[in-house]
């Protein structure tokens, strides 16, 4: 654990990570059970449910039609540093390329197996076969080598959900301070939701490390504005004004101020993993004409994308009181509203509502969030983890690869 003494040497490894073959290190060591079509979901869930309390997580893609984005997401998730091995659940006739996914996982040295329900002989035999494999795999991954893990090797994502008027004035700026501290210590940090950056494209572009990246950041917000307009999605609800928000720019800063004050080092898309320290914007809005509906149907769809970009841990700010966690990476809840905190404290890791009660400064809560990241990275369960939350959502989307200006050297 890092102490609150800032004089301690910067990148001295204080944590132990699970060392993976690509050199990345995990803060958790779980088996994912991944269904490759909704038809295999029940079998996958039955397998996972029989390992309650053990690190076995359920993920999956429900669609029967092929989708390059879903392929890439599943690949990145199954080879995430927090994942030690994967069991794939196939019905047998879906479009998902189970062979390629299994090959890609095997290449990383992780244990992987595929249960094809139609070949195995139906529901019960597939559940039994899957359970047997997971039992063996858990023993196998217990021997994964451990290695010192520096703060500079962490990837931390942030998302907000269940927001109210307090989110943008307590929890979100405090996450911004924590992000600044993490970047100073050499970590990679990721913020997202370009649809909630409308009005801030110039402010944000000015923070880019190169003018070319600045153009890309601005273009991503313009794309989001167009996409949401096509969705007919009102970006400003009457409740926002009731809560004290006056303009779209003001609503956007609630989301934006989670990014802190660091320069923006790059623009990434779901599945792109930052390879060096800095602050990155994750562009979550699909490219091309709107095809599959809203960019992300709920908070967990965004969390899954942050994790596919390598996030070891997610900082989730909420005012009204979201309770969700996630498969694969721990979710840390930062509660913006002091009244919500009092009602739902068991679900909340950090009470940023103290800022509104003038009992703590934004800086102090920022430091508390930073310490909580290190605590959770050292193995302590976050509230949502200890309550058993492992939500996961993955839907259809389409992206073009990022351009050459998006990750300046």
């Amino acid at each position: 654990m890092s102490s609150s003494n800032n004089s301690s040497s910067n990148n001295s490894p204080t944590l132990q990570g699970f060392l993976r073959s690509d050199g990345r290190k995990g803060i958790r060591n779980c088996i994912v059970v991944a269904y490759l079509v909704e038809c295999a979901h029940h079998v996958a869930r039955e397998i996972v449910d029989s390992f309650r309390g053990q690190p076995v997580h359920l993920i999956g893609f429900g669609g029967c039609y092929p989708n390059a984005y879903a392929d890439r997401m599943m690949n990145k998730l199954c080879t995430h540093p927090n994942v030690g091995g994967a069991l794939l659940l196939s019905l047998g006739c879906e479009s998902f390329n189970r062979h390629r996914l299994a090959e890609e996982i095997a290449k990383t040295g992780r244990p992987v197996s595929t249960v094809v329900i139609q070949q195995t002989g139906g529901t019960r035999k597939s559940i039994d076969s899957g359970k047997l494999w997971v039992e063996q795999a858990l023993k196998q991954i217990a021997d994964v080598p451990r290695a010192p893990l520096g703060v500079n090797e962490l990837v931390v994502g942030t998302v907000c959900g269940g927001s109210d008027a307090t989110s943008g004035i307590s929890a979100n700026p405090a996450v911004g301070r924590a992000f600044d501290m993490l970047v100073e210590q050499g970590a990679a940090t990721i913020f997202e939701e370009t649809g909630e950056m409308i009005g801030l494209e110039d402010v944000m572009s000015a923070r880019a490390v190169t003018p070319e990246l600045g153009h890309e950041l601005k273009a991503s917000v313009e794309k989001a504005a167009y996409y949401y307009k096509q969705m007919g999605h009102a970006s400003f609800a009457p409740g926002n004004a009731e809560g004290g928000l006056t303009t779209i720019e003001e609503k956007s800063i609630g989301a934006y101020c989670k990014s802190g004050d660091s320069p923006i080092s790059g623009l990434i898309k779901p599945g792109d993993v930052p390879r060096k320290s800095g602050l990155y914007l994750l562009d979550v809005v699909p490219d091309g004409e709107p095809r599959f509906g809203f960019p992300n149907i709920n908070d967990n769809a965004e969390i899954a994308e942050l994790i596919a970009c390598g996030s070891h841990v997610i900082l989730f700010t909420t005012g009204r009181g979201s309770v969700v966690g996630s498969a694969i990476s721990p979710v840390i809840k930062i509660c913006a509203n002091p009244e919500t905190y009092e009602r739902m404290s068991e679900d909340m890791d950090v009470n940023a509502g103290k800022i509104l009660r003038l009992e703590a400064s934004v800086d102090e809560v920022g430091e508390e969030i930073y310490e909580k990241v290190l605590d959770v990275a050292s193995g302590t369960q976050s509230c949502s983890e200890s309550l058993g939350h492992q939500e996961f959502v993955l839907t259809y989307k389409s992206f073009e690869p990022i351009g050459p200006s998006c990750l300046p050297m």
Partner: protein, 105 residues
């Protein structure tokens, strides 16, 4: 903790801000201190809403969290409530519901 003599109802988020956030309900006649100057509030202002941190000129950019959130429609004195009546977006007009639940700009 806020030092003595500083506001207990208003919060400055960023050093560049010219608005402060109401963190405890404000009532008419309440007095508070903004950057060393006393202001007297003339109306109820709810938590989460904004007041001017200093006198703001008509057309001046308004900053919250260190970034512009629009422009002043009219001169706004320090301590005045800032909302749809005196602050406008520089991008897209804000539509909201009036007291009769009708959409208004």
């Amino acid at each position: 903790m806020q030092p003595e003599g500083k506001s207990r109802k208003l919060l400055r988020i960023h050093r560049d801000d010219n608005v402060l956030i109401v963190v405890a309900p404000v009532r008419p006649g309440d007095r508070d201190v903004i950057d060393g100057c006393e202001v007297v509030f003339t109306q109820n202002i709810a938590i989460g809403h904004k007041v001017a941190a200093r006198d703001i000129r008509a057309g001046e950019k308004v900053y919250k969290c260190g970034v512009p959130i629009g422009s002043a429609k009219e001169p706004i004195p320090a301590g005045a409530h800032m909302h749809l009546h005196n602050l406008k977006s520089d991008y897209i007009a804000t539509y909201t519901l009036d007291k009769d639940h009708v959409f208004v700009k």
